[in-house]
Symmetry: C2
Subunit: 331 residues, 2 copies
């Protein structure tokens, strides 16, 4: 099957290619009978406009690049779904890029992003630092950052304020006299942990105390679970805070194997809630983070950056809220 072009359609319909172009772009000025004539030719030939050629002519690709940390799909799934759902509405394509832990091939990613002339880029998580973003904005590419607050030219951000989240939560415990709180490190999500750490510090300070129980997982431990199993034999807390479900489950298993009971001896909360939290026994309390919305809103913001002439048409920063879901691991 020969590649069929706008020119073939024009010949078939016996009009000029300009007219065909008008038809496929829904121009108003085409007379009804010639429109249908062209439509028929398109149908007959099975013609599909070449988006690449359109992209060249129009100087836009209607595709946006999405950058997520590799292997994060467990936690990014809903974000991507939200993103794609609204991308579909506005007829944008998503090209997916992943950043690799450690080895900073981010330059390569930026390079291919620029070459591919996407209309915008949406970045989840903190793998690309400010300098990287600077390179992109230098090339006039609008950016939306998911998860981190961020102020810069041509950059918008959509996020959940984890510091505030944990501040409010911890504050209640402290006020109740439960001041022995602990936060478990999460090597895969340093940026989130940093926010949580700051929120906790502030909560303690504002109550005239100091937060000290940031529990780092020693490097030699292959998994959090291995370490925690030892840890909870020796230590206890009023409340243990984890970021991800798998860490919460590790705590849960470790604590129970140490002969202690949740929530009676120790309470447990997982910031990033998931369905697995409610499958654990006891069920683990957590915060419903609006992942889908994070994606959907980000894409929506992107479309606004792309279409609105003035910068006042959209918010540079969008904070999304969360819902606390108490279950059986907290009192």
């Amino acid at each position: 099957m020969k590649r069929i072009t706008i020119y073939d359609v024009a010949k078939e319909a016996d009009v000029s290619l300009a007219t065909v172009s008008r038809v496929i772009n829904g121009s108003e000025v085409v007379r009804e009978d010639t429109r249908s004539k062209v439509q028929e030719a398109i149908e007959k030939l099975g013609y599909k406009p070449n988006a690449i050629a359109q992209g060249l002519a129009l100087q836009k690709t209607t595709t946006i690049a999405l950058v997520v940390p590799e292997a994060s799909f467990y936690y990014t799934g809903q974000i991507i779904n939200g993103l794609i759902d609204v991308a579909k509405i506005y007829n944008y394509n998503i090209v997916l890029h992943t950043t690799t832990e450690g080895i900073s091939k981010t330059n390569d990613i930026i390079e291919t992003i620029i070459k591919s002339r996407v209309d915008g880029v949406i970045i989840f998580n903190d793998k690309l630092d400010k300098d990287d973003l600077k390179v992109l904005t230098n090339y006039q590419v609008p950016i939306v950052v998911i998860g981190n607050q961020m102020i810069a030219d041509n950059i918008c951000s959509v996020y959940v304020d984890y510091a505030k989240l944990i501040y409010d939560y911890a504050d209640k415990y402290i006020k109740k006299g439960k001041t022995n709180l602990a936060l478990i490190e999460d090597r895969k999500n340093p940026a989130m942990i940093k926010q949580l750490n700051e929120g906790l510090k502030k909560a303690f300070e504002d109550n005239g105390l100091t937060f000290t129980n940031y529990i780092e997982i020693p490097k030699e431990y292959r998994s959090s679970y291995m370490f925690l199993k030892d840890y909870f034999k020796m230590f206890s807390h009023d409340l243990v805070i984890t970021y991800r479900d798998s860490q919460a489950m590790a705590v849960l298993n470790s604590v129970q194997e140490a002969g202690k009971s949740i929530p009676d001896d120790l309470e447990l909360v997982c910031v990033l809630d998931s369905k697995y939290n409610s499958m654990a026994r006891p069920q683990i309390s957590g915060f419903k983070i609006p992942d889908y919305d994070l994606g959907a809103v980000s894409m929506r913001v992107m479309t606004k950056m792309l279409h609105e002439e003035n910068e006042d048409g959209y918010n540079r920063e969008t904070e999304l809220s969360y819902i606390y879901t108490p279950r059986k691991s907290t009192i």
Copy 2:
């Protein structure tokens, strides 16, 4: 910052654009001093070749479309990682499309895929049926299908044989006299369940028996768990087979709440293993499916389809194997 083109570089380096083109494409024939002259100009101007224009001129986009079922990222994550890792090696971009449950907007997806002139498409799972694929192959687009065996022109497939997997597994139970096996429906993965069902049927038949315990989750139940809680109060089996971890955990919780013990009263196996299986108590046995490899191999096959002149350079079908991981939920 004005869009800078190959022409600007040519002027800056005082050569023709053909020479610049040769340099950026690593042609051997360019003299060393002019090459460096051009390099400098490229550097100075911050020039990045426009992949869209290249795509138009070369009639290829070096991007391939990936189609996955919406909301499947929990299970698709590793596949995508594998895919992207080898895509990076060959400098291919991935544009991501999701099929929606029920409402068959697959036509739209196919439409945009064709318009975008991707070099190939990789499809995970069975949301696009044979007719859909036919449309794509009509437009000369090479296809790799992940997860389903498939024979057709210009289509390759990479898969795990679930029917064989469960056949072998069930056969051992039957031979041991444990013939009361049950398979739990999974609405989200009808194609996998179908394969499992067939494997079980055959295993029973080959042993002169009939497989009957395909347990469907009634539509009125919001979740499998709700139904199973009732179910296991009334029924028991020698072995219960689920496809996903969350269903296995639902069985585990239901059975335990019914006062029965795993694995003593009832054994449990989850076909698609995950880290959550080993976090459950008792830990759930499962099959390590090579998800990462499914993605990586698929992309590799795609590159072969794209580059090899003859069809003998690659296998039309690639079967990947699995590893059984016995844990505490089976004897």
